[in-house]
């Protein structure tokens, strides 16, 4: 039977119909709402889908009673995934908080030479003597302008039907504007033709959008393809997050929900469409000025975007359906954008080293540089690449979401009230919060700092154990006062009301060991030593915000590399921008892919031993 679920937010009410018996989470998903993040994909384990709800609802389940305190339950807090609708009910929407999301990519420096762009072509006038079609006159004009693209025999430009229709009206003038696509190795195509803009109209610009679809965050950059200027940026949390926080959960949703793939595809397609329209509107662009959209992202995200079932990626041996470069037009992907806008799905390497890493390698020029560099993208999945112009080795190591603040007792995203930095002042511990607000928890960089500080202060020993009360007392009363006996285990106070528990430290040990061991394997397998690594590129949100010294202190990054760190920001997004802007960079993605090889850690005999070694924190410097 259908019931009404009312969402109340700052005085406004939204009513959504919901079947009795469904969970609040499913009802929200069905209504297209993104109120909560279902970090454990609705398994009742993470407690991140909490919200305040009242009305005819199921009794709090066992899971809810263990994850929510008695006070929270009394205050109406529930887990959306565990609470079922029994009749009319309401949800109080939390006040919106803006996530601090990384939208800055590294500056890239090269000459624009976009693979898709509007070109003005001067046509030879038609004459009675020479009976030549408009199409032939246009192709000839194009060949003059782009000698390299049409040099090889048989590579005369192909002209689409839509372009012919446009040509009919435009070719009576001596010049036309043609939307031309030149992809290395795929010849030249004319996708649209229009009359030259009139005198009172600015001539058509060529604009591109570079997109990075992250599991957590989606970023779009609007680029002026004539000069490489970034005209605008839009970013937001991935709208698929209600299906779970990590790629496995998203894949699982495609397996368990009949429409899971289509629902997720629609969400990302509409999110990208909305971002694109907002960017174009702000840049006062005419829609046909958008000529290309290059998309980077991990392999699962690209499968979901393309509507290709990713199921196999989730179980050994993890085969993806595709990893190569795919070129198409906006409507083929369901994007509500000009029919003639090209879409480039950038190439990846394997199920877990995707186009995000490959485009990062290309954007940073790693595969063309004789200097050895290490690229670290630390998220739920740590993706690592190491190498130089001689070749690149990459691997993925499942760190888990600890550094995104998930699975940590006081962990939270990078929102207002999260402790983002922690440091030692004398023998005290000090911290800052996002928005200078009252501290409510720790985001990834805060978790890392807190861990490093407590190790440095000696409150956590090399094996990851929090000292017992007696041992702590020996460190002096000030430090000893940071140690508290929690309900089931000891914990260390970062500031009043915010702590790191013994269990949290264990989770962080798993995450650092997975990455630390992954780096060591890459260095070993490439026959290099730590000293030979000349640059360390830190990509992604966490890499850009984290304190490198803390990362070294806990063993996430090998000691000796701290001075070689370059914050690469959103290198995946930068690679996508570069691909819109330059044929050479688009080709570099393919080359980076060709020069890279992948190490599967699940089957590396040495991984387990290294992993266990890395569970220990390094000795003091």
């Amino acid at each position: 039977m259908s019931e009404i679920l009312t969402l109340v937010h700052e005085g406004t009410r939204t009513e959504i119909p919901a079947e009795a018996g469904t969970s609040l989470l499913d009802a929200l998903i069905a209504a297209g709402e993104n109120l909560v993040s279902a970090t454990c994909a609705g398994k009742g384990r993470c407690g991140k889908c909490r919200l305040r709800a009242s009305g005819a609802l199921s009794e709090p389940s066992e899971r809810e009673r263990s994850l929510l305190s008695a006070a929270e339950l009394a205050g109406g807090w529930r887990l959306a995934c565990m609470t079922h609708i029994e009749g009319p009910a309401r949800i109080d929407r939390p006040a919106t908080t803006v996530a601090t999301i990384l939208a800055e990519g590294p500056a890239i420096d090269f000459t624009p030479d976009p693979p898709a762009r509007w070109l003005r072509l001067r046509l030879s006038p038609p004459t009675l003597e020479e009976q030549v079609s408009d199409e032939e006159r246009m192709v000839a004009a194009l060949a003059l302008l782009t000698p390299d693209a049409s040099a090889s025999p048989g590579s005369a430009a192909r002209v689409s039907m839509a372009a012919l229709a446009g040509l009919a009206g435009a070719a009576r003038h001596d010049s036309v504007e043609a939307l031309v696509r030149m992809i290395p190795g795929r010849g030249t195509e004319v996708l649209a033709v229009a009359a030259v803009s009139t005198a009172d109209q600015a001539s058509r610009r060529s604009l591109g959008i570079g997109v990075d679809i992250g599991t957590t965050t989606v970023v779009s950059y609007l680029i002026d393809l004539s000069n490489g200027a970034i005209l605008g940026t839009k970013s937001g949390l991935n709208d698929q997050r209600v299906f779970g926080a990590d790629v496995i959960a998203r894949i699982q949703a495609t397996i368990e929900r009949e429409t899971g793939l289509e629902e997720q595809r629609l969400r990302i397609v509409s999110q990208l469409t909305i971002m694109a329209h907002a960017l174009l509107a702000e840049a006062q662009a005419r829609s046909e000025e958008l000529v290309s959209m290059a998309i980077a992202g991990n392999t699962t995200m690209l499968h979901l975007f393309a509507g290709v079932p990713p199921a196999a990626i989730s179980t050994a041996p993890f085969p993806p359906v595709f990893t190569g470069l795919h070129v198409g037009l906006a409507p083929e992907f369901g994007l509500d954008l000009p029919e003639t806008s090209s879409v480039f799905l950038l190439p990846g390497l394997s199920g877990y080293v995707g186009a995000d890493i490959v485009s990062g390698i290309a954007a940073l020029g790693m595969a063309e540089d004789p200097r050895c560099s290490l690229l670290l993208d630390i998220g739920t999945n740590g993706e690592l690449a190491l190498g130089d112009s001689g070749g690149i080795l990459s691997c993925t190591t499942a760190a888990g979401p600890a550094f995104e603040g998930a699975g940590i007792s006081m962990g939270m995203g990078g929102v207002v009230g999260a402790i983002d930095f922690v440091w030692i002042e004398g023998s005290r511990i000090a911290c800052s919060t996002i928005g200078d607000a009252k501290a409510q928890g720790l985001c990834g960089s805060g978790v890392l700092d807190a861990l490093a500080c407590f190790i440095e202060l000696g409150l956590i020993d090399g094996s990851g154990r929090i000292l017992d009360a007696e041992e702590a007392a020996a460190l002096g009363t000030e430090l000893a006062s940071l140690r508290q006996e929690g309900e089931t285990e000891p914990r260390l106070l970062v500031c009043e009301g915010v702590w790191l528990s013994q269990g949290d430290v264990r989770q962080l040990q798993l995450a650092t060991a997975a990455i630390g061991a992954g780096i060591e394997i890459l260095i070993k397998r490439s026959g290099k030593s730590v000293g030979e690594v000349e640059r360390v590129f830190l990509a992604g949100g966490f890499g850009s915000f984290m304190d490198v010294r803390s990362a070294v202190r806990v063993g996430l990054i090998p000691r000796g590399l701290e001075d070689r760190v370059v914050v690469a920001g959103n290198s995946s997004g930068a690679g996508a921008v570069a691909a819109c802007l330059s044929r050479a960079r688009l080709e570099a993605c393919d080359q980076a892919r060709a020069r890279s090889s992948y190490i599967e850690l699940s089957s590396s005999p040495e991984f387990n031993d290294l992993f266990v070694e890395h569970l220990f924190f390094p000795e003091q410097a």
């Binding site: 454990c40 994909a41 398994k43 009742g44 384990r45 066992e62 899971r63 496995i248 959960a249 894949i251 699982q252 397996i255 989730s314 179980t315 050994a316 094996s463 990851g464 154990r465 285990e489 013994q502 269990g503 264990r506 040990q509 699940s602 089957s603 387990n608 992993f611 266990v612 070694e613 569970l615 220990f616």
Partner: protein
């Protein structure tokens, strides 16, 4: 300290060679193989297990303690066999199909061995048929499945079904575990026991074997 207490203390510290030397010493002192096993080696592993459960020690400490236990078992094994000391129970343990995570499974194995269980590890990516075949071959009391991926968890259900189809469902206790597994999930697939960590898993397995004995 008695030699037995030494064995337990050294095992907890992971001193493999010293544990072995002290087991030899205890044998020379005329202690029975069963006493050395239960009051020396197993006592030490028990303490490690308790600390692990409370998060006071972690994976590496358990691994080195288990290594020390194995070193101590070298001189003891022949005596255990000749004096007819039987395992507390027989366990078939593996990581399910599609899943290659084995660190947690290995800890479970060590803790179970530390409780005197005979564990047959069928490795990772093990199909339900493999579980069934091993359960029959070794006449197992317990079939224990590990899974670390939310997508491979469902394979555990196939193991339960395969055991049922093979007609040995009621002869074995089915245990499930791994980070994403919960008690609710265990019940929903018709398995018997869930434990959140390796030490509790070993205790539960011993209890299950005693009940069925």
């Amino acid at each position: 300290m008695s030699t037995l207490e030494d064995i337990s203390a050294l095992l907890q510290k992971g001193k493999a060679n010293d544990v072995k030397a002290n087991v030899e010493k205890a044998i020379a002192e005329g202690l029975s193989a069963r006493t050395i096993l239960e009051e020396g080696l197993m006592a030490g592993m028990n303490i490690i297990g308790g600390k692990f459960k409370r998060n006071e020690v972690y994976v590496p400490e358990v691994l080195i303690a288990a290594r020390a236990m194995n070193a101590g078992l070298v001189p003891l094994k022949p005596l255990l066999v000749s004096s007819g000391v039987k395992a507390t129970g027989i366990v078939v343990l593996g990581t399910v199909k599609g899943d290659l995570h084995d660190i947690g499974k290995n800890l479970v194995k060590m803790m179970m061995e530390g409780k005197g269980l005979e564990v047959h590890d069928i490795g990772v990516d093990a199909t339900s048929d493999k579980f069934v075949a091993a359960a029959k071959e070794f006449n197992a009391d317990v079939v224990a499945c590990s899974a670390l991926l939310t997508t491979t968890m469902n394979e555990m259900k196939s193991v339960v079904e395969a055991l049922r189809n093979a007609g040995i469902r009621d002869k074995v206790t089915i245990m499930v575990g791994g980070a994403p597994v919960t008690d609710t999930f265990c019940k929903s697939i018709g398995a018997d026991l869930y434990s959140p960590d390796a030490a509790s898993a070993a205790e539960a397995a011993v209890a299950a074997c005693q009940k069925s004995a």
